[in-house]
């Protein structure tokens, strides 16, 4: 009970006499707060332990990793696992693939999304809110619902007049196309609300000076929206980087694996045991997660706003 109560109230709300007495007696205060501190410790351990374990395993040589009882600190800390992971063309290739896919999706989403957001945020026209809701409905769109259709689409080649589009299956292009499903609504929604929050006067001034809408967008609005573009770009990048279902379904060749596919299907080192190379997998995990953790901590508020876009406004 003290758990919920501690959080629900504010310390200032305590009657003055009692808090004075407590302040005078630091020992009592500590004892009273002890369950609270224990709870804090419990939450911290729960949140951090799996990450610590991956870190510890990444620094442990295989010989210590695959033995019992388990070591809780690496007694012979080593960089071998990292060296092997960062020296393996399989993993580096996957890093490159993920960067290419997430980067292209982000750029495309930003360019197309910013144009739409400008129209939606600045002009009143028929079907405006319908378009916004269309975009919103796509954020709760179950990707699995179109898996089969995309799968067959990507497996057919397209003949149009004199040129042929080769099947996208097992190419990074299939991922760039399919990831637009979740990155585009995200960029459109977040940027629209961002643009709406900016004062109109500046563009109006530009219009008076004879600028076309496109010029007003490029010269006036775009520089103002730049911080929004950076945030939403990072959000789109992270979303594309984390995707798994489409990557698993549309990619077959190991040289085209994304990071997530690589971490799930990490090949055992050649010439060694058949065992799953957990040390290397954990090292790969650390390489991928550390930048993401830093980004998330920096962007937490924006990410939340992006994820729940529309839910609060209704």
């Amino acid at each position: 009970m003290s758990v919920a109560a501690e959080g629900a109230g504010r310390p200032q709300a305590r009657p003055a006499a009692r808090s004075r007495r407590l302040r005078r007696n630091p020992v009592m205060r500590f004892v009273r707060r002890l369950p609270f501190y224990l709870l804090l410790a419990l939450i911290a351990v729960w949140a951090l332990f799996p990450f610590y374990w991956a870190l510890k395993s990444a620094f442990t040589p295989d010989i210590d990793l695959f033995k019992t009882p388990v070591e809780y600190f690496p007694s012979h800390a080593t960089l071998t696992q990292f060296r092997q992971v960062l020296g393996s063309s399989f993993f580096l290739r996957a890093l490159l693939n993920s960067t290419i896919v997430a980067g292209s999706v982000t750029l495309l989403g930003l360019v197309i999304g910013a144009l739409a957001a400008f129209a939606l945020g600045r002009f009143g026209f028929r079907g405006r809110s319908a378009t916004l809701y269309l975009m919103l409905s796509m954020t709760i769109f179950p990707q699995i619902a179109i898996l089969g259709a995309l799968y067959t689409m990507f497996n057919t080649s397209l003949h149009a007049w004199f040129f042929t589009v080769h099947p996208l299956y097992d190419t990074l292009g299939s991922l760039v196309v399919s990831y637009m499903i979740f990155t585009l609504p995200l960029t459109v929604w977040v940027l629209t609300s961002f643009i709406r929050a900016l004062p109109k006067d500046l563009e109006e001034a530009a219009y008076i000076d004879g600028a076309t809408p496109l010029q007003a967008f490029r010269r006036v609005l775009l520089p103002l929206v730049a911080p929004g573009l950076v945030t939403v770009g990072l959000l789109a990048f992270i979303a594309a980087w984390n995707e798994f279902l489409f990557a698993l379904s549309f990619i077959e060749t190991p040289s085209k694996y994304t990071v997530n596919l690589a971490i799930v299907a990490f090949p055992p080192p050649s010439g060694s045991t058949f065992q799953t190379p957990w040390g290397q997998i954990m090292a790969a995990t650390i390489v991928v997660t550390v930048p993401l953790i830093v980004l998330t901590l920096l962007l937490q508020r924006r990410i939340l706003a992006g994820l729940t876009a529309g839910a609060v406004k209704g």
């Binding site: 919920a4 109560a5 501690e6 959080g7 629900a8 109230g9 504010r10 200032q12 709300a13 009657p15 609270f36 804090l40 939450i43 911290a44 729960w46 949140a47 799996p50 990450f51 991956a54 033995k67 019992t68 009882p69 388990v70 197309i112 144009l115 739409a116 400008f118 129209a119 709760i140 179950p142 990707q143 699995i144 619902a145 179109i146 898996l147 089969g148 259709a149 799968y151 067959t152 689409m153 497996n155 399919s178 637009m180 499903i181 585009l184 609504p185 798994f244 279902l245 997530n260 954990m282 995990t285 997660t289 993401l292 953790i293 998330t296 937490q300 939340l304 729940t308 839910a311 609060v312």
Partner: protein
Amino acid sequence: MLAPSLLVVALVAFYPLGRTVYQSFTNQQFLALEPTKWVGLDNYFGAAGLIHDTMFRDAIVVTVKFTVITVFFEFVLGLIIALVVNSNFRGRGVMRAVMLVPWAIPTVISAQMWNWMYNDIYGVLNDGLMRMHLIGRGVAWTAVHPLASVCVVDIWKTTPFVALLLLAGLQVIPSELYEAAAVDGASKWQQFWTITLPLLRPAILVALIFRTLDALRVFDVFYVLLGQRPPQSMAIYNQYTIVQAGQVGYGAAISVAIFLIISVFVVIYVTLLRVEKQ
């Protein structure tokens, strides 16, 4: 200016969705020798249709169980964490950062981290429990308790998201309310039930909606921990039918069914939110 966006949406979302619905009325198979035929509602109500498919029924049950368990624990733990990091103490900023760490890790990767911790021989979970004499020998967690293993990973990974949403809700509750209640002699417990919880309702609703819709679509955790073996979630079964088994037509029918199931939840929630606003 809107045209490119609408074109993309039409091309990557609505055309495939329509195509899925169409495919669900055919017997299309990937790389089949015979031409695809129109089979009407056979995929849904035929002798080998969805309504007689015990694997799909199992998948629905598993997914619903998973959803109820994870959303419940994520809500309770998320609320506790939100209340804790909303109170005043030294190091609050650090604590808020710490609580977010699981959320920053991609699902596939966090599932793989836990997979290693669950390892039957070298896993830290078995080692820790054996040291505490809670179990006699190593347990192959993902084989013996598959659903629980999956749920724990999801709860670990997603509780911070719920906590963050609830924290945002807590921060807009004016502190004067608590001061007034304290003056009137209300205990912390009473304050929680009469002030915090009612005023937190909108945030709670939003958190529950997002979690439920996400949980119903679950794929990554199940795939990494269990592969294609049961218990399967709806999405796992569907992906298997289409990609591994090549049953495009039948798989499309499953997709449509999943889409409808999720839509029902969306409609319920949208209604709830609208009622909440008035």
